[in-house]
Symmetry: C2
Subunit: 384 residues, 2 copies
């Protein structure tokens, strides 16, 4: 991994704006045809997490590198991994005065500056640049192509829900697609989950109900509220639907386990078995209290972004969907952000800055060379 | 004129970013076909000066309003005129901590936000927007179309030198075109000016030379250096070439006066007569000392912009050009900015943020609908 001396604030010119920090990036010359050929540069844009050099081997586009003789670059996003503008993560995440420079616009400008300098240093000014990314990194790839057409000739944006803002797509799209994934896997599994929320609440209010639930679900510590269990279960279902890979429990595997014993009529027992199946007996179900969740959120860069500009109005509503009903309430959302970071979200900013409503006309107009790829089972595809 | 509550900092989310200020804009419904028609909205982007409502009557595009039944809007640029983010101009221009939000990126985001809100409030979401501007306002129009294609479908950028950055065009283009304007008007006028700089210096070093020059040029106060006279004369020539309108002295008028007396062989007397011709005897030639110039610069928003991102490397070099030779020296330029505002310019930033080098390919690629109009006698056309 290499370090690039990056500008802290690209858009203002105050004293702090001139601060710099070390941004990490990785580069591989293994397949490159060289600066004098027309070989392209594939730049992977990191999202809300650390960049690991292994990513050179996993991406679809990168697998095409030998064919295109391309130079490979991965850029770590500011404030994630080691690309920390204020020394330590602790310092950078201290409050809104240090976190303020964590925004998608600054991140795109980072990429523009790094790519421009890199090409100059390699005398590769004429090499075409293709940017690639997934999820939030995919949004950045699409936006970089739109906003910096002089820097990149094309983008591959995988699973990038650039339309899940404001009122462009239905707010319950995410939960509807996740529900559909489960229902397609098994109608019975879907029904079991759908009916479980009511059962959890009912059990929790009974005498020793929380103790019974803790034992049944093999939680790592006794539950202190029904909400704790609801939160951990929803997180499991969402992880299965969104990633559907062996690291999480794929939907089919999870549903098979939930459906395993046809004799079992208690939906809670079915689910308890399902979510713990495959785990060692020693591996308990990790429960997170509301306080712990708030503490985690405070140290989450993505939560900061969600609390400033990346306001994605995800709600679980509608008769058919399987999650506990939770409408998107902007006031609550804003209050939560105020509590967490002392900031207020700007819910209309992303659509003003990047558009979305008339995306088809804009893309047609601009012959934009952006490929949007979406796994249709990914709940975020509803905004992609 | 109306006021719009504008966000101070669109790209960061610190405490100050949430400050707002009143941005002035003017709107005319006189010709508008209404929200339900396909009548367009013509938005004029103000540049580095106050917006006066008279501008509704002077622009070429606006003269087309009756034909297109268009809504007319003029937006004043932040930090100019009354669109002051910190109460008074004095307060806003105090130092780099208050001036830091004066940047082209923030100004473009202002326009994006104002236009979006305005269309929403008028239920005119489907009305196409054409942005218009001249000089710096023209650059903003072109850049708004490039950066916010979802907000505007086309731009008319008049005399917008978007390529006069970095090393895209020759640094002496401005002075060469201005020279050409004078030479085309009169070869003798051109020679007189070209030879005058040496004469000014020579005379200034003679006994009572500055007094003689002061009397000859009818300066409002005695000159204290040859440089003072050089500065005021260059300013007059540049004003004539760049604007060539009755408010300034058009090049032809100025040259006719300089050439008036064919018997006069002293180039300084010819010029003195030329620049004072048409003035009342009471109207003297205003001289500005270097100290006064620095003081004026400190209160100039455009100087701040030139000292941060709008680094246009204008130099007067080459055997043919008529101005005093002055190469562009980035180090001197930076030192001057450090003295003025305690900031250092970012000379490569504009080309990174907005491109320029491959502008033709980008525009072709994006079917961009930007009309760049240039008066070929405008010295800035060398970067347009």
């Amino acid at each position: 991994m290499r370090n690039y001396t990056q500008t802290l604030d690209h858009f203002n010119f105050g004293t702090n704006s001139y601060n710099t920090f070390l941004q990490r990036y990785a580069i591989s010359f293994k397949y490159w045809g060289g600066a004098n050929t027309s070989s392209p540069i594939f730049v992977t844009l990191g999202g809300e997490g650390e960049v690991v050099i292994d990513e050179f081997s996993t991406s679809f586009v990168i697998s095409k590198a030998p064919h295109f003789k391309s130079l490979l670059v991965i850029i770590e996003h500011r404030y994630y991994g080691e690309s920390n503008p204020f020394g330590s993560k602790e310092e950078a995440y201290k409050n809104s005065s240090t976190l303020q420079y964590l925004s998608s616009e600054q991140a795109l400008a980072d990429c523009a500056q790094l790519i421009t300098d890199l090409k100059k240093n390699l005398s590769a000014e004429n090499s075409p640049v293709i940017v690639v990314g997934g999820s939030y990194g995919g949004m950045l790839a699409a936006w970089l192509r739109l906003k910096y057409p002089h820097i990149t000739i094309g983008a591959l944006a995988s699973s990038a829900p650039i339309l899940y803002f404001d009122d462009i797509v239905p707010h319950n799209g995410y939960c509807s697609v996740a529900t559909h994934d489960f229902r397609e896997s098994s109608e019975s599994c879907y029904r079991t989950i759908k009916n479980s929320w009511h059962e959890i609440k009912k059990t929790a209010t009974q005498h020793d109900g929380l103790t019974a639930l803790s034992q049944m679900f093999n939680t790592c510590r006794p539950l202190t509220s029904a909400e704790e269990l609801t939160l951990v279960l929803e997180k499991i279902y969402i992880g299965s639907a969104q990633y559907n890979d062996p690291f999480y429990n794929p939907v089919d595997t999870l549903c098979e386990a939930i459906d395993k014993d046809p004799q079992e009529i208690d939906p809670l027992r079915r689910i308890a078995y399902g979510v713990n199946a495959g785990n060692d007996i020693s591996k308990c179900l990790k429960v997170v209290s509301v306080e712990e969740m708030i503490e985690n959120d405070r140290l989450s860069g993505w939560r900061w972004q969600a609390c400033t500009e990346m306001v994605m109005p995800i709600e679980c509503t509608g008769d058919e969907q399987m999650f506990e009903t939770s409408p998107f309430n902007l006031t609550d959302y804003m209050l939560h952000c105020k509590t967490l970071f002392n900031v207020l979200p700007r819910p209309h900013w992303i659509t003003t800055e990047y558009g979305g409503r008339n995306i088809k006309e804009v893309l047609k107009d601009f012959g934009s060379d952006i490929i949007f790829s979406n796994g249709l089972r990914d709940p975020y595809s509803s905004g992609g």
